[in-house]
Symmetry: C2
Subunit: 556 residues, 2 copies
């Protein structure tokens, strides 16, 4: 049988990447990255509001053409590659990144009436303008529908779908009223490439709907119109435009139109998979399956797990999302994360020691240290805590400094803090019956820092495996394309053929693990003392009060 | 009446300073500093034991000559100065800095038998080799004589007299057995200059005896021979060589011999005051009196207060020392302190940001910040806590960091932490009835940093006054000489004539003080949570366990 190929189209925060993959063995034949031209590094900011982050939908369209054409050009350097043997296309995007559409399915940002209006753009995942609205949604759900919150860990986030829509209704009613419906970027891309413009025809993916829009089969899909209407009547109107079905990756969302096929250089009618978020398809590209925890470790960390739908999985407190089929068909998908990992190390290098240390020089010093030798212990909360406390207003803590504590010791303590945070997530999953048998890491830090990976192995007491691919999100998207295109019957087969881990893996060193067990006990005490509201002896309000004082001081 | 002059001889850690002062108005006519030639910057170290710090007594003798001769040369530049009108000499030294003497009163280090033996040298204040012995003394006193501990805040320190003697008995019995008695540097200097060599004739000052050797009139002087003998029979032998009387500054310890007068260039028979420690005479030189707290703020901070002997002063928990007449005749002397102030700022500048920031550049950024604006809060324990927790094994803590926390914010948080520590000491004094009406600061930081002084005023809610003299220890020693020499009838008169504060003083800014009141509440919670053993909800063992783990890791 002749080789067949799939394409993964991976929309990140600043750019979009296309990857051409051999479906038989996962060989990556061609890739190309297109940086979004609008705004700063692709993000349209508001100088008056640091919470705002928007993107221009035109960048998504132009990016699809440039990235796929570039990747195909790159692939043609490989002997035997033939673009006519491309059997499927998959897409992943950031999220929740909703886009307002008019009744004809055109993004408002692409209409003359709203073409420079920030509220008409895509509301990027990290837009936090809706933080007050998020609190409002959480409060109402706590009173009327606690089951909505139980699936998203107990609190609704300002990064999520309904917070952004409600914010738009409040501050930009003209835009909100002109929007017939809103669509996730992950859903818009497959639809537009397949010529599906009528809003009613756009298929919604379960990954976005379930993790960000409180969609769940238990209550028949999205939240009730009554609940949404109590927040704003306009939300009930939007609710009426949304379907009651959502789709997992691998489902054929549509087929490439002749027009798009020509623009992209792909066969007309190529099946396009339903979309998903980048981290989820990153987990797929890392070989996720039963018992495998995939950790995507970059500036922040995203942890993805699955469990068979047949398994009775309880709600897990503090876990951001538990959604049937959000990662793979036939399995529950779990999403957890840490708000800062690489960003924490970058803070120390770039902000605390500007122009002085480097990750390389600090690592040289830090890797000479034995566990516990520094006497330092830190909490990894400089950007809040996503799992298991779900609290963006927690802040950092470091303890144990003497007059001799060195930058390398501090750097290592920050690395260890993120490892303790990772262990806390694993512990919470297993407490609730989701057994972690293997851990596969991907993302920049897993590829770059042997020290970090060894510390993670020592702190968790488990081997750390590293994904073979350096572009797992795009690879996972290509796998979705391959399944949609029939090159593999399911993701288990696609995974067996197309993913692998590196030969080098990091085994825990027992002596180190023993010390880290003791340090983790102390970490966990600080974690609960400052982060949990439930302990009698907690000091939970210390960080909050500091932030309140800080906000007052800054506003004064 | 013609002017008269007094000389202050101020023995510091690395050098000795002499100062010639006009007794009528405190004018400083001449000064000279002599750096000790032995060891590293005057300190004889042990490459195998970082706790060891010794000094050579010959440096003290050579230093007296060089410093006084130099200061007189300097003073002769002033019109009208006449060295024959010098009426008194005062001495201050570091302490506890005990020196072993043979039966003839000769320091063992100056005898052929022991001339290069480290244990025969002066055991400098910061020699911590006796930490195990200090714990042994504390334990025995807690069982047999809790009253001994009550006067020194609840624990006996490795920096103090009996810890050092016991250590010598244990590790250098030859030296210990050859020592007829031990004398504080502060007592040896007046004795030697006045030709008092017979050990029984050496007068002991109450400052050293009371603060460092558990001397108290309540139990007839030094601790009982029975108690000391239970620690080591040799200590009981030394106890028998010690007098039951100790003297305050201003008491004439003796008069300059003809030989020393000639060597120093001073009138024969000049009265020499009983000695005292540098911080205590620094307080005198800063104008200490009823209701005045003197803060000597340098690498660490020393706080000195007095209260009339007529006042019923209780034991104050956590205060290092409460000794009748240790600072001024007729008053209780109180000594408190912070283990790191300038050292804490130096750590951040020199260790965390080597070759990058400077105190000046960080201050420029930090002084732009409003109180509370950074969201940061720190404990000032990187070198332990001297008052009110008396625990050298407490360590630093910083809380509230985000990914945007800047070096200037961290620097300011460290400054604020030391101010919170200062406020805690003031609060403790006043809780026990020692009213603080004025605060006068001296020492390097008070002279150099307007920002630090303003923060201290804002945090404590009290004006910060700054001593006029930049060499208050030597000035205080000269005042002791002036009183001993009869130029003033008492220290109140000497203080009125010879000391002053600068015109510039730092007033608390109400808006800042209001924010700092709130931040201090949080500081105090962290302080008690991590530093006190008495709270049910304490996390006291977190730092201890980290240190134990650290020590094990370093020893492994």
């Amino acid at each position: 049988m002749a080789n067949s190929y799939a394409i993964g189209l991976d929309y990140g925060t600043n750019s979009v990447r296309a990857l051409v993959v051999d479906t038989a063995n996962g060989a990556e034949l061609g890739t190309h990255v297109f940086s979004y031209p609008h705004g700063e590094a692709g993000i349209i900011l508001d100088p008056n509001d640091p919470n705002a982050a928007r993107q221009h939908p035109q960048d998504y369209l132009d990016g699809a053409v440039a990235a796929i054409r570039g990747a195909l050009d790159d692939a043609t350097k490989s002997a035997g590659f033939d673009a006519t043997r491309i059997v499927g296309l998959g897409v992943d995007t950031t999220g929740s990144t909703p886009i307002p559409l008019n009744a004809e399915g055109v993004p408002l940002a692409l209409t003359d009436a709203f073409k420079d209006h920030p509220a008409a753009m895509a509301w990027l995942w990290k837009d936090h303008t809706g933080h007050a609205e998020a609190a409002e949604i959480t409060q109402l759900a706590a009173r009327q529908h606690p089951e909505y919150l139980a699936k998203c860990g107990g609190g609704y986030s300002s990064e999520w779908f309904w917070s952004k829509l409600l914010r738009c209704a409040r501050v930009a009613p003209k835009v909100f009223n002109a929007a017939h419906t809103w669509v996730e970027h992950a859903d818009w891309m497959p639809a537009i490439l397949c010529g599906i413009t009528a809003p009613a025809g756009i298929k919604r993916c379960i990954c976005a709907a379930g993790h960000k829009a409180m969609f769940h089969p238990d209550w028949g899909g999205y939240p009730s119109a009554e609940f949404l209407g109590a927040l704003d009547p306009g939300l009930a109107r939007v609710r009426a435009t949304l379907p009651n079905t959502a789709y997992a990756v691998g489902h054929v969302a549509g087929r490439l139109t002749a027009e798009w096929a020509a623009r992209l250089g792909l066969p007309e009618g190529t099946p396009v998979s339903a979309g998903a978020f980048d981290a989820h398809l990153g987990a797929v590209g890392s070989g996720i399956g039963p018992g495998v925890l995939v950790k995507i470790i970059g500036t922040s960390a995203c942890d993805i797990m699955t469990a068979p739908l047949a398994q009775a999985v309880p709600d897990i407190p503090g876990l951001c999302g538990i959604v049937p089929e959000s990662v793979l068909p036939g399995a529950y998908g779990f999403e957890a994360g840490q708000s800062a990992v690489g960003d924490l190390f970058n803070w120390f290098v770039n902000v605390v020691q500007p122009g002085n240390g480097s990750h390389e020089s600090l690592t040289l010093g830090a890797e000479q240290l034995k566990p516990g030798e520094s006497g330092l212990l830190a909490l990894d909360w400089n950007n809040g805590n996503r799992t298991i406390l779900i609290d963006p207003r927690l802040t950092g803590l470091m303890l144990g400094m003497t007059l001799h504590s060195t930058p390398a010791e501090i750097y290592r303590a920050l690395v260890e803090a993120t490892a303790f945070g990772a262990r806390t997530i694993i512990g919470r999953l297993e407490e609730y019956g989701v057994q972690v048998d293997r851990i596969v890491c991907c993302g920049g830090i897993s590829a770059k820092s042997r020290m970090v990976m060894q510390i993670y192995a020592d702190v968790t007491g488990r081997p750390m495996e590293i994904s073979r691919s350096a572009q797992t999100c795009a690879l996972g998207a290509a796998m979705a394309g391959a399944v949609a295109g029939g090159a593999h019957p399911d993701f288990a087969a696609a995974s067996a053929a197309m993913t692998a881990v590196q030969e080098t893996r990091f085994e825990p060193i027992p002596a180190n693990a023993a010390v880290y067990d003791r340090l983790y006990g102390l970490y966990r005490r600080l974690h609960d003392l400052f982060g949990a509201t439930s302990l009698a002896e907690n000091q939970f309000d210390v960080m909050k009060t500091l932030l309140a004082i800080r906000d007052e001081a800054r506003g004064a």
